[in-house]
Symmetry: C2
Subunit: 131 residues, 2 copies
């Protein structure tokens, strides 16, 4: 079960302290920069459509099973599978973005809260044919 | 970027020919059977809530970049990132399910179209705190 990076995130977000917790809390536009080897898979992307971007949150702590609220101490610790915390056994990031622009292997998106350099591992339509 | 199985799908769906293309096209109820090592992460699951299950579609073909419609030859081949085909470079399955019942490490869900034995790699709320 080895993931391969199919691309990388290019973003002004450089470290965790910069990152908003949800994409719609003010993430700047970012680029997905794909590997040449997957170009054929990109050919039907359409600007203006929502897509799901899957990333590998490579700066996450994979040993966390119970998370502690970052800034609200009145909230109790929570089992990690009931949160969207990046710190979890398999730190797969799931991001609902809007595709803004496609320029060859570069795809500009809105609402991606991933850090610069984060590996991209998949891209799927929100709903589409499974075949 | 090595995924670890945190559990397995237990389902009457045994092979690809049985599987509906979307969970809401008649997938039977299934169980997620988690590893003892991740038990603490499950403790806040609540029956009746929708959840996102991430699987590793271990019977997929990872070399596919362009898919051909399975049963509608009038549709053109499509770049795989514009489809939900399991055959793709990183065959991560994303399934929107309803949690029906929790019995220790076993979680019964509705609308999971994954095959019996499929590795489970993550479980997230549809929307929740990222912390």
């Amino acid at each position: 079960m080895a993931l391969r990076a199919i691309g990388r995130v290019e973003s002004p977000l450089r470290d965790k302290a910069d990152a908003p917790r949800q994409g719609d809390e003010g993430a700047p536009d970012a680029w997905l920069v794909f590997e040449p080897g997957v170009a054929a898979g990109l050919r039907d992307l359409v600007p203006g459509t929502p897509m799901l971007v899957f990333t590998w949150l490579d700066r996450a702590d994979r040993d966390v099973l119970v998370t502690h609220p970052r800034d609200d101490l009145s909230r109790p610790p929570t089992g990690v599978f009931s949160t969207r915390s990046p710190d979890r056994p398999n730190p797969i990031g799931l991001h609902l973005v809007d595709v803004l622009e496609i320029d060859g292997l570069r795809v500009r998106v809105r609402n991606l809260e991933a850090l610069d350099g984060t590996p991209v591992v998949d891209l799927k339509p929100v709903l589409g044919p499974e075949r």
